[in-house]
Each structure stands twice: as structure tokens, then as C-alpha cells.
């Protein structure tokens, strides 16, 4: 009986976690280059199995319990890397990647090994020193195909970005924006500021990709999916809470029976 209470409680908690993730996705519905998080669940191991594996509580001897699943657990994080729609912004330094890959940025003082971050957000700006930077509040430098920063000259005229990422000022070629990809996109980790970290810097490799200037990739959050998920989650949470209430009542009855 108590066991069932825990199962239902894990249901309530998982639904609540899912709501947190959906709320974050919806909050970032207007964040350029944002990739939505997928709230995934997995079945929890039954106590009997856990005991057999030599961990967890080992006191279970009831064979009926061995057949009962152990409720829900939140599964490891996944980022949905599917592309967002492109929006025409007519800003010359807005760039979007067509197809796979990410822009790479690096902090001013960072070395490649410790501070390389990836992003699909192509809102680029020029900082006071002339470096091309990402337009988030950190303003890290955008890397070219050789993982070096790109720098423009003060009075060289307007910038133009070609479909191969070549940045030119007037007739002079200044650099080529690099596009990089990783071996396993499931290992990408959100860092805030539209940045994605990758645990193995050596696994980041350059790819050839075409770009489109004056276009921005919008967030890939789909309001319909998120809202349906939100409603479903809400109902699931209520159902599990209802189950807790039933089991509490049943327990109450049991206690009543004991009273004379």
C-alpha cells in the first residue's frame, strides 16, 4: 500500500519536472537559435531487481512485488536539435546555418580546450575592438574556420557575409565564419546565453556548410506541441494526485478497521 503511494508520488514529481522544462521552452519561444529540451522519462527499476543487483534495499521477499514496476524516473537530458524556421531580419550581421552544424565562439581569454562553445544563434555584432562577437550578454568572439577570431577594420566600410561564410569589407576578404559539428549531439549541454557546451572538445570538427546572411534561425519551440504537452502533463499530475488521495483513503479505512 505504502509502495503505491511512492509510485504515485513519483508520477506527480515527474509531471511537475516536465512542466518546468515546458515552461523554460515556452519562455524561450522568442530566443533566436534556441533548441528545446526534451523531458524524457524512464521506468524505475523494481525494488526486487535493485536488490538482486546488490544495491538498494534488500528486504523485499514478497514475490508479488517483484512484478511491480517502480514508477517513473526522469531520464537523461536530451536537446532537440531540429532546425528552427528562418526569419528575414535584413540585419547584415545576422547569419543562419542551412543544414547541420553550429557556430563556435570563444571567450576573450579562453583557450580552445576550455572555452569553446557552440551555438545556432547567428546574431553577430562587432565589439569596440573590431572583433566579430556573438550578440548575447557575454559577447564571445566568433571563430573562423581555423578557430581564430575575426576582426574588421574601423573605416573599411560595410560588411558583407557570403553563403560560404566569407566575411568581406569592401572588396577585401577578412575571414570565413566557421561551422562545426560534434560526433554525438546527445552529449550537447545547455550553458545559457544560447550556448551549448560539448564535453569532449576534441570531438568538435569543422564541417562545410552553407549560410544565409540577413536571416536568423528562430527558436525551434513549437507552441502547439508544448501546449498539448502542458495540458497532458497537467492531467497526468492530477490523476497521480488522485491516486495518492485514494490510497490515503484506503489506508484510512484500514486504520478505522483496527479501531474498536
Amino acid at each position: 500500500m505504502i509502495y503505491g503511494l511512492y509510485l504515485s508520488a513519483s508520477g506527480v514529481m515527474s509531471s511537475s519536472y516536465k512542466q518546468d522544462v515546458i515552461a523554460n521552452n515556452l519562455a524561450n519561444a522568442e530566443t533566436a537559435g534556441f533548441k528545446r529540451d526534451l523531458p524524457l522519462f524512464q521506468q524505475r527499476m523494481t525494488e526486487a531487481e535493485a536488490a538482486r543487483a546488490g544495491k538498494g534495499r534488500s528486504g523485499w521477499s514478497d514475490s508479488i512485488l517483484e512484478g511491480i514496476g517502480g514508477g517513473l524516473l526522469v531520464s537523461k537530458q536530451r536537446v532537440d536539435t531540429s532546425p528552427g524556421t528562418l526569419e528575414h531580419t535584413s540585419a547584415p550581421l545576422d547569419v543562419s546555418i542551412q543544414g547541420d552544424g553550429f557556430f563556435a565562439v570563444r571567450a576573450k581569454s579562453g583557450t580552445e580546450a576550455n572555452a569553446m562553445a557552440l551555438t545556432r544563434n547567428g546574431q553577430f555584432m562587432i565589439d569596440g575592438e573590431g572583433y566579430m562577437v556573438l550578440g548575447n550578454d557575454r559577447g564571445q568572439r566568433v571563430m573562423d574556420t581555423n578557430r581564430q577570431p575575426i576582426r574588421v577594420t574601423a573605416d573599411g566600410g560595410p560588411l558583407h557575409i557570403g553563403s560560404d561564410g566569407a566575411v568581406s569589407q569592401g572588396k577585401e576578404l577578412i575571414g570565413q565564419i566557421g561551422v562545426f559539428n560534434v560526433d554525438d549531439t546527445s552529449k550537447l549541454q545547455k550553458m545559457g546565453g544560447t550556448l551549448l557546451g560539448y564535453s569532449e572538445p576534441s570531438g568538435i570538427r569543422r564541417v562545410d556548410s552553407s549560410m544565409q546572411a540577413e536571416f536568423l534561425e528562430r527558436s525551434n519551440v513549437d507552441p502547439t506541441t508544448e501546449l498539448t504537452d502542458l495540458m497532458k502533463t497537467q492531467r497526468l499530475l492530477e490523476a497521480n494526485a488522485q491516486m495518492i488521495r485514494y490510497q490515503d483513503q484506503t489506508l484510512g479505512k484500514l486504520i478505522e478497521v483496527g479501531k474498536i
Binding site: 506527480v12 514529481m13 509531471s15 511537475s16 519536472y17 512542466q19 518546468d20 522544462v21 515546458i22 515552461a23 523554460n24 515556452l26 519562455a27 524561450n28 519561444a29 522568442e30 530566443t31 533566436a32 534556441f34 529540451d37 543487483a53 546488490g54 537523461k76 537530458q77 531580419t89 535584413s90 540585419a91 555584432m125 562587432i126 565589439d127 569596440g128 575592438e129 573590431g130 550578440g135 548575447n136 550578454d137 574588421v152 577594420t153 574601423a154 573605416d155 566600410g157 560595410p158 569592401g170 546527445s186 552529449k187 549541454q189 545547455k190 545559457g192 546565453g193 544560447t194 564535453s199 507552441p223 501546449l227 502542458l230 497537467q234 499530475l237 494526485a241 495518492i244 488521495r245 490515503d248
Partner: protein, 269 residues
């Protein structure tokens, strides 16, 4: 728990309502000479690690990914869109438009931006002592100063900023000064002071004075004023999108509230 969802949705509401403010200001200035529209950019906030990746379980397996919950969104910046506004022919000799990048440099109050301001609003006037001043604010004087002699009957300003006048009765033109334009490596980093005035910041880089038309700066057009670059259609689409996104976030709040209520009512069942 659902409290996180409440806060995440609140960050969304706050950021999006700021965007409504920015769009409203853009629309309010749709008819302001040389006004540059702003775009509000967003980025995702921090992520809360419910479980760190790379933890090892009893069997020696290492988890390849952790569990992170995002904490919402925030505003990264309001980005100035310095796209050229269209040139409106006013026919007035002291209206000067800049076709291209660059700003006029003017003397403003010492307490603001070190006393030097920059503007693209070339709606000039002559003040009581003959100095060329801006037709905005308190009549800020140009740097370097230019004085128009009394009894001037005709003023011509060339594309490269040379000002020549004909003084009443004379037939020859007389050069009285030269307008220069100032450019910045990152004009988007300028600070907005209102009244079409921008001031230098650490992000804008050092001002570079140029003869109009040289060094990538624009040429001058006498008799023209630069119109605001606000595109009403674009602004209205942004407004609609923002309103919808705002409503979506209010849905998150409602759901989180209901979840908390359900949990709060467990004991009363």
C-alpha cells in the same frame, strides 16, 4: 517542482513585456527624423543541474548526460538597427542628410558623454550669433563650429561637406567651413541619450572623424532629411508575435499554479 515553472514563465513574461515597450517606442518614433529602430534580443538563462553528467553508478557505468532544467529567458540586448532610412526631399538649404554610415558631432552638456554627442539628424539652424546648430534639443553647436556670416543670401553644401555662401550683393562664393562625419567601428555600441543624440561608450570604439564620402562614411545630401527606419509592418508583426508568446507563458503560469493547487489539496481529498 512547479515553482520553477512559475519563475521561468515569469522571466518570459517580463522579457516579452519589455519587447512590447521597445516596439511601442519604435512605432512612436515612426515619424522621427533619423530615428533608428531597436530590436530586443533574448537568450536562455542558466540551467539547474538536477543530476550532473558523468556520475558513476555501482556497476561502474558512467552516465553520459545529466538532467538540467532551464530557468527561463532573459534579454541580451536591445540592438540598434542602423539601416539607412529613406531620404526625404525638404528643399530647405540647411537640411543635410547622411547617405551612408556616420554621424554629425555636436557639443552637448558636459555632464552627458563628456560633452560630445553624435547625431544623424541634420536639421540645422543658424542661432542668434550666426553659428550652425542642431534644430533639436537646446540648439547644440556643431564641432568644429561653423559660423554663417550675416546677410547670407545663399548656402550650398557639397557632398563632401564644403559649405559655401554668397553674401548679399556679392557674386562670388565664399568658403565658410567644412562639415565632417564621425564613424565608429561598432556604432551599435553607442549609448542612446534621446533627442536623436548618441554618445560614445567602451563598446562603440573610438570616434573616427572623416571627410564625408571618405573612409567608408557617407556623402552628404543638402536639402534632404533622413526619415526614421521604422517599418510599421515589421513592428506590428513583432508586436503580434510577442503578444502570443506572452500568452503562452501565462499558460505556463496557470498550469504551474494548478499543479501546486492539486498538490496543496492532496490532504483534503
Amino acid at each position: 517542482m512547479a515553482i520553477t515553472a512559475l519563475h521561468s514563465a515569469a522571466t518570459g513574461l517580463r522579457a516579452l513585456s519589455t519587447r512590447i515597450d521597445v516596439v511601442a517606442n519604435n512605432l512612436a518614433n515612426a515619424e522621427t527624423t533619423a530615428f533608428k529602430r531597436a530590436r530586443l534580443n533574448f537568450e536562455d538563462l542558466m540551467y539547474l543541474a538536477l543530476r550532473q553528467p558523468g556520475t558513476t553508478n555501482g556497476a561502474g557505468d558512467v552516465s553520459p548526460a545529466g538532467i538540467f532544467v532551464g530557468l527561463g529567458t532573459k534579454i541580451s540586448n536591445s540592438q540598434l538597427d542602423l539601416e539607412q532610412g529613406s531620404m526625404e526631399n525638404t528643399g530647405r538649404p540647411l537640411d543635410v542628410g547622411i547617405q551612408g554610415a556616420g554621424f554629425f558631432k555636436v557639443k552637448i552638456m558636459d555632464s552627458i558623454g563628456g560633452g560630445t554627442g553624435y547625431t544623424r539628424n541634420g536639421n540645422f539652424f543658424v542661432n542668434n550669433v550666426g553659428e550652425l546648430v542642431l534644430g533639436i534639443g537646446d540648439g547644440y553647436k556643431l564641432i568644429p563650429p561653423i559660423t554663417i556670416p550675416p546677410n547670407t543670401s545663399e548656402i550650398s553644401i557639397s557632398q563632401d561637406g564644403n559649405i559655401e555662401v554668397i553674401i548679399g550683393g556679392q557674386t562670388t562664393k565664399q568658403n565658410v567651413g567644412q562639415l565632417s562625419v564621425t564613424s565608429f567601428i561598432n556604432p551599435q555600441g553607442l549609448q542612446l541619450q534621446g533627442g536623436s543624440i548618441y554618445t560614445e561608450t567602451g563598446a562603440s570604439g573610438q570616434p573616427v572623424d572623416n571627410v564625408p564620402g571618405e573612409g567608408g562614411t557617407g556623402q552628404l545630401l543638402q536639402g534632404f532629411l533622413e526619415a526614421s527606419n521604422v517599418d510599421p509592418v515589421k513592428e506590428l508583426v513583432t508586436l503580434i508575435k510577442t503578444q502570443r508568446a506572452f500568452e503562452l507563458n501565462s499558460q505556463s503560469i496557470q498550469t504551474a499554479d494548478q499543479a501546486l493547487q492539486t498538490i496543496g489539496n492532496l490532504r483534503r481529498g
